[in-house]
Symmetry: C2
Subunit: 266 residues, 2 copies
């Protein structure tokens, strides 16, 4: 499901930046003293993001941080923008609007540099919008805190660093099970992954491990016997029978190729 | 799962009282011109509840309404309280606190009268707290809009009109999938039923039909291969593998004995 590149750390938003920093530690370990690019591209107003992460990562010994921001897509062609990637050990995409990431850097030299770092084993992390954008098709908009209505979902092409999954974030906090079910109903080929706040999946090779305070929900639609997603009326509430659901928490592991939790020896 | 009594109409709260009144119509049809008891017992401040339902049911031709309220448990012994049940065709439990219903009328003559009406084929309806109280063991308190922590759940004995299920209400609106999963993890013998606002299940015999605007979520834990619910720490987030989940919407039918959605001929 992921190619053979470096680790992906996909975070459900609001990761702890002042206490144990469980999730940022996972990033810091993999940066391993190297340079980390903080990509604030998702935000329309990125002021303050970089300094917040500078403080949090600084406390974890990651001192070599640079910010990547583009006001306009054209800037991705400039040498000054591209130079932030020189010798980078990893990239961290902060939150905001996932469409801003894909529309500003998609199919530009910057995106190719992200792929290069991934291909040579560097860590790519993303939180909130930075999490959603990891998949090939990403969730952009949908209702929270209500059951899914067939016409409600908006999706768009993401960066495609991980295939055959759809990622949603702020999951339990914003009541997003309905929209993730709706996304999976559209094509059960994709596995739905809903990640709570202050919770992450650390994906290396075929498998990921859960880290953090909340839960990760896996929606597997492969056994679904009926859904009304292709029915005419967009106001119709979703029906979907025989969904397989896994709830994973800190330390749990999951094999994306087998679509199975790994058994625990605890 | 239900005995051979009359229909149960179990509503997730905030049922429409001014528009199509889809759910109240289901109640009105089954009252069929008879007397309906509006039991406002769940509320600490019942003022206004009765008049609201009087207006809504009046528009549906149900004119013979009486209110049941008890300030203290002792009142259930009084003839005046008991007389509201004379010739009643059905009972409607309004919202509030489910513990107030069970603690004020549990094991009293009033509860026996409720059972009598059910046994002789009368309709018993309940919304919100009035829905939760239908099951043998009822959910009383638990976290909303976050994943379930093992120690978070409070349950209590309900009226037991329907067995082997746990009912939760305001389901998608309050992000309650986590606590329903936690309840089912405690004993997968019980089937979890989460009902959205303005949505109901109409249970007759073994089967129910969904009515209303939202969805009904069925959490079937019979195939669960692992859960950490019995682990020591109450702060631990729930893990639960291989849950079967059904999402049902208006018109969908479900067989509680078989634990299966009925196939549709649409």
């Amino acid at each position: 499901m992921t190619d053979s590149g470096g680790p992906l750390i996909i975070i459900g938003g609001h990761e702890d930046k002042e206490g144990d920093k469980t999730i940022l530690k996972e990033v810091a370990q993999r940066v391993n003293g190297g340079k980390l690019v903080i990509a604030t591209v998702a935000s329309h107003q990125p002021d303050g993001y970089f300094s917040t992460y500078q403080k949090a990562f600084g406390a974890l010994g990651v001192d070599n941080l640079v910010e990547l921001y583009v006001h306009e897509r054209g800037e991705t062609l400039e040498q000054e923008t591209q130079s932030v990637f020189d010798d980078a050990a990893g990239i961290f995409f902060t939150g905001g609007d996932q469409l801003r990431i894909s529309s500003q850097i998609g199919d530009t030299p910057v995106e190719r540099m992200v792929r290069d770092i991934h291909a040579r084993g560097g860590v790519i992390a993303g939180t909130s919008a930075g999490a959603s954008v990891m998949s090939e098709t990403m969730l952009v908009k949908g209702s929270s805190a209500e059951s899914h209505r067939i016409g409600d979902l908006h999706m768009a092409p993401g960066l495609g660093l991980v295939r055959d999954v759809i990622i949603d974030q702020h999951f339990a906090e914003r009541g997003r099970i309905g929209r993730l079910l709706g996304a999976v109903a559209q094509n059960p080929r994709v596995l739905g992954i809903g990640i709570d706040e202050d919770t992450a999946i650390v994906l290396e090779g075929c498998c990921f491990r859960v880290a953090g305070a909340g839960a990760v929900y896996i929606v597997d639609g492969s056994g679904v016997t009926r859904s009304n997603i292709a029915e005419a009326s967009p106001e119709r509430t979703l029906s979907m029978h025989d969904v397989r659901l896994h709830v994973l928490s800190h330390g749990d592991e999951f094999d994306l190729d087998q679509r199975r939790p790994l058994s625990k020896r605890d």
